[in-house]
Symmetry: C2
Subunit: 133 residues, 2 copies
DNA sequence: GTCGTTGCAAAACGTTTGCACACCG
DNA sequence: CGGTGTGCAAACGTTTTGCAACGAC
């Protein structure tokens, strides 16, 4: 565990959900010389050994978090808002997928997408202007 | 509806699920001068008016398909294989999300991720080497 | 002439690679 | 020494942007 790696892990823990770029910023606030390449390499390494995980929120860069940070993410098509909810919501689905076709679902790795309540309310005959997915 | 746009729409229909680059290739096979910028702009336009949709299969470029092509996609973490299944599988979840937090789920927009049956079988004490997500 | 559409080049974004240097055993 | 980790620059794949030219009304 090198100093850079410790800083990356600390940043992931502090930031909760963060893109490699955000993590890089956080790390550089205490060690400006650290390069973003190192961030990527370190995140990759830590993911392989099971220290962190990444989640695709739809658009753009994935976000990294601690392995224990287990949530299902809901991303709004229209405003891009991210809501977290319990992985338990997908237990039934996971069981059915496993039984039906032998697919072992990882509910937390990708965000589910849809329309959040406020956008649904606003979406009265006004077509979506932005799809941030 | 310009000739380019018709070609893009035809390509989306012929290819089923295709990335912008693949669509560009298909279009250029009959009209070589068409630029990929036009593909992007046209797909964007057609998505806004509801002719096509795009789906994130995890890694890399999204795939475009006709609006009617409604599937839930399952992508394997390890081998990257894509399975299609019925959107009905998520009906219960969609209902619960709508009731609990007012989130209107679009089950077909992102692929669910996990481990396919063959990779799960192969995954006996052999850690994943590739995560294509 | 005005507006929308196109092609092209360049930029932008997120990520990966090659390579040389430094450090630690 | 040898091997690992790092920084830097450059490449990469995908997407967006600026701009000039074209065409339809």
């Amino acid at each position: 565990m090198t100093p850079q790696r410790q800083l990356v892990l600390d940043a992931v823990r502090e930031l909760g959900h963060a893109t490699p770029e955000q993590i890089c910023g956080q790390v550089q606030s205490s060690a400006p010389a650290v390069n973003i390449t190192t961030i990527y390499r370190t995140l990759d390494l830590m993911e392989r050994i099971g220290l962190v995980r990444h989640t695709h929120l739809g658009h753009g860069a994935p976000t990294y978090s601690e392995l224990e940070h287990q949530h299902v993410h809901l991303v709004c098509h229209t405003c891009g808002a991210v809501t977290e909810t319990s992985p338990g919501l997908l237990d039934g689905l996971a069981e059915r997928l496993r039984g039906d076709i032998g697919f072992d679902l990882d509910a937390t790795h990708v965000a589910l997408s849809g329309l959040c309540s406020s956008c649904r309310d606003a979406y009265v005959d006004r077509p979506a202007v932005t799809d941030q997915q």
